[in-house]
């Protein structure tokens, strides 16, 4: 019964909200105010006519805390739906990264070769740098970035995770 003995899990939660001022602050304030973790959070409008935005939040906690997070999100007044993608079944998770790698000679060639393996596109280049764009599962992006570090990675920007359930049913 003790929640303290439960292990910490990672969950990806999709939240459909009214696209109104302050709604993101409400969600973030809920996480900070109650001491929940945010590993990643993305938000953008998804249905313009209906004024709905979709927030994808990746969080960690014990099962009890995760149930609390969902219940707390669901009782926010502008929230329409809360879906625990990790719990509901198979889902697809993607994140986009822009990676700037500076270098010459062998390292430059090796960076380009590995980018090819990871299906990363060159979005800008000079004689001594590349900017790669890669979109993958977050763990695969982590791997790509690890490989780029010794090859002269100087800067990196990631979007955070977006996710959607597999299959034909909608949220």
């Amino acid at each position: 019964m003790s929640p303290l003995q439960d292990s910490v899990e990672r969950r990806t939660i999709a939240v459909l909200v009214d696209n109104e001022p302050g709604v993101l602050a409400r969600v973030i304030g809920l996480f900070s105010g109650r001491g929940y973790n945010i590993e990643s959070l993305t938000v953008t409008e998804v249905e313009r006519e209906m004024g709905l935005s979709r927030i994808t939040v990746v969080t960690t906690g014990t099962p009890q805390v995760l149930e609390q997070i969902k219940a707390q999100l669901d009782r926010l007044v502008p929230v329409h739906r809360v879906a625990d993608l990790s719990l509901q079944g198979p889902y697809v998770e993607r994140e986009l990264a822009l990676v700037k790698v500076s270098g010459i000679d062998d390292k430059r060639v090796e960076a380009l070769r590995i980018a090819g393996i990871f299906d990363a596109e060159v979005v800008d280049a000079g004689l001594d740098f590349f900017i790669f764009e890669a979109a993958h599962r977050p763990d695969k992006l982590d791997r790509f970035i690890e490989l780029m570090k010794p090859l002269g990675m100087v800067e990196m920007s990631r979007t955070g995770v977006v996710a959607i359930a597999r299959g034909k049913d909608s949220l």
Partner: protein, 619 residues
């Protein structure tokens, strides 16, 4: 609120339909008929509001101008915005209707924050209208500008900044809908001054349908059936009911009492739930929790099935979580799914309005063959043995008034008066020892008679709350049971009492200490009484007179009854300075970090049970 059941949420329509309805224009002839300020008044009247508690200022002047030109709404001018919210809470809790507050921008809004937080913690429906600087100045650090929606976001159930007069009527109606439906709470509507001055079209209340907020009020029938299985099979059941039952309304309280009688189970109430079952009911074990009765807490600890209705397993109730009612199967009825499994994991959650759930539980119980009344015989024998400890006993000897005696006499004299003359008694409190003694010694026969700051523990709550109660119930006897420290936190409201001739009685249990702080320092901090002495107290009798009220002082036990009766007879506001024994502690007490079966019963008990270090870090 019972409103959740009676004013059923509009049928679950698609968001398109909802937004179409919300956007439906008013009748053409009414286009641009009202200024924003006039719409505010109209919306309040349409929502059935009779009284607004407020304080004017620059940003809300258009609303005050509109108020001046009408006779439907009564405005009560408080002396501090915090008091406006507490007064609205007192009004709401004693009537079951939402309380309404009107304050200006900046300091008006920030002063209201404590009251809003209090209402959030205790689930009290409040609509608080705040002025705001004109939209074109927002973000410019204008005079009396504050980010009100930002500041109040974590201390309201919901809040709005109205950016255009076109959004105003929908927002106002939504604010009332959100405040009273589901788990009630405070809602802030921030109103920029230019929006109040612009003309626009009004929308009727029933033209507004909320897009997303549809709290579940009806219980899942299979959960109800399982709950009745558990209750019927229980050998040692207990019903633990909280403020959710009071919020659900008098009918829910009646149903709770019926269920208690049907099942034959003992019942205990939280601080917020007092009055949900009659205090004199033989199955009522009194309040539970940190200063609850011995029998209530031990019954909670030893029960085999616990039915929680409308309570939230607050830390003041559970004590040490790991040892909270360790061998029971727990059923939790709550309208707020986030209250379930938050502190205590339960076997059977029931998300529903308390009234709907209780009705369903009773119907299901009546469909079955009732279990033998003998099943609980041993349990009741045990409970009677616990009751035999007489845990609230104290010794009144000599002429120095014991605080418990003062409160017990206040209860008995007001109860006798109510029985004889029929004048209803409403009790509010401040926060501290006097509050706990009032909770222990007053037996509330009905709901909505007891207003106290439970969750937030706001000193300064009681006087303004009593003001709100007296406005709603002009002929009732309204008493703020206070401490000499708490009362000074909103003493300025004596002026409001004088202005409106509100005959509120402030009964100060004056021990010249912040009594609960002193008690904790004695028990947990080696009797090092750091800053807890109430030095330089005013002469409360003279203070009463300065405010145009009546001052009464009681100094001896022999005088007490006569003085209390005198207070009750005076048709004016009274400050009653009841000088009591200074170092009395409030028992029973479950020290922080202890379990229900480790309670201290009295001064002789404390040495035997030293308080753990883990307990010391808890509040």
């Amino acid at each position: 609120m019972s409103a959740t059941a009676s004013q059923a949420a509009p049928e679950a329509s698609s968001p398109q339909a909802a937004s179409a309805a919300a956007a439906k224009p008013a009748i053409d002839s009414q286009a641009d008929a009202y200024s924003g300020a006039e719409m505010v008044i109209k919306a309040l009247v349409d929502q059935g509001v009779e009284v607004v508690f407020g304080y004017p200022g620059g940003a809300v002047l258009p609303i005050y101008d509109a108020l001046f030109q009408q006779n439907s709404l009564r405005h009560i001018l408080v002396r501090h915005e915090q008091a406006a919210v507490h007064a609205a809470e007192g009004y709401a809790r004693s009537t079951g209707k939402p309380g309404v507050v009107l304050v200006t921008s900046g300091p008006g809004a920030t002063n209201a924050v404590t009251g809003l937080t209090d209402a959030l913690m205790d689930s009290i429906p409040i609509v608080c209208l705040t002025g705001q600087v004109p939209t074109h100045l927002i973000g410019n650090d204008a005079f009396q500008e504050a980010d009100t929606t930002g500041i109040t976001r974590p201390c309201t159930k919901h809040n709005y900044l109205v950016r255009s007069v076109g959004d105003l009527p929908r927002t106002l109606h939504e604010a009332f809908y959100v405040a009273v439906h589901g788990r009630p709470g405070p809602v802030v509507v921030d109103l920029p001054k230019d929006v109040l001055q612009t003309k626009g079209s009004y929308l009727e209340k029933d033209q507004v349908v909320h897009r997303s907020y549809r709290p579940q009020t009806e219980p899942d029938p299979s959960a109800i059936s399982k709950a009745v299985d558990l209750l019927a099979a229980a050998k040692r059941p207990i019903i633990y009911a909280g403020g959710g039952v009071i919020n659900a309304g008098p009918e829910a309280c009646r149903l709770l009492t019926e269920l208690v009688h049907l099942t034959g189970a003992p019942v205990t109430n939280t601080l917020m739930g007092l009055g949900a079952v009659p205090g004199s009911d033989p199955q009522f074990l009194g309040m539970l929790g940190m200063h609850g009765t011995y029998e209530a807490n031990l019954a909670m600890h030893d029960c085999d099935v616990m039915l929680n209705v409308g309570a939230r397993f607050d830390d003041r109730v559970t004590g040490r979580l790991a040892d909270f009612s360790p061998n029971s199967i727990k059923i939790h009825v709550d309208i707020d799914p986030s209250s379930i499994n938050k502190n205590v994991m339960v076997e059977l959650p029931v998300v529903a309005d308390a009234e709907a759930a209780l009705r369903a539980l009773i119907a299901e119980w009546k469909r079955r063959t009732p279990p033998s009344p003998k099943a609980q015989e041993a349990w009741w024998k045990q409970i009677e043995a616990w009751r035999g400890r007489d845990c609230l006993s104290y010794r009144q000897t000599g002429e120095i008034i014991k605080p418990q005696y003062a409160i017990q006499r206040l209860y008995q004299l007001t109860a006798e008066q109510e029985a004889k003359a029929g004048r209803k008694t409403y009790i509010t409190t401040e926060v501290g020892q006097h509050q706990m003694w009032a909770a222990q010694f007053f037996k509330f026969e009905q709901p909505n008679r007891w207003m106290t700051s439970g969750g937030l523990g706001t000193m300064g709550y009681g006087l303004p709350a009593a003001m709100g109660v007296q406005i709603a119930h002009p002929d009732a006897l309204v008493i703020d049971v206070a401490g000499e420290a708490s009362i000074l936190m909103n003493i300025q409201e004596m002026s409001t009492l004088a202005q409106y001739g509100l005959p509120v009685k402030v009964f100060i249990v004056n021990n010249q200490w912040m009594g609960m702080v002193r008690q904790w320092q004695e028990l947990l901090h080696g009797a090092r009484y750091s800053e807890s002495y109430s030095a330089s107290l005013p002469d409360f009798v003279a203070l009463a007179e300065a405010f145009g009220a009546v001052g009464i002082r009681a100094e001896t036990a022999g005088d007490l009854d006569d003085k209390i009766l005198e207070m009750m007879e005076v048709p004016r506001p009274v400050i009653f300075d009841c000088c009591v024994a200074q170092e009395e502690n409030c028992f029973p007490m479950i020290p922080s970090g202890a379990a229900h079966n480790e309670m201290l019963l009295g001064p002789d008990d404390k040495a035997a049970k030293p308080i753990s270090e883990e307990g010391m870090v808890l509040v």
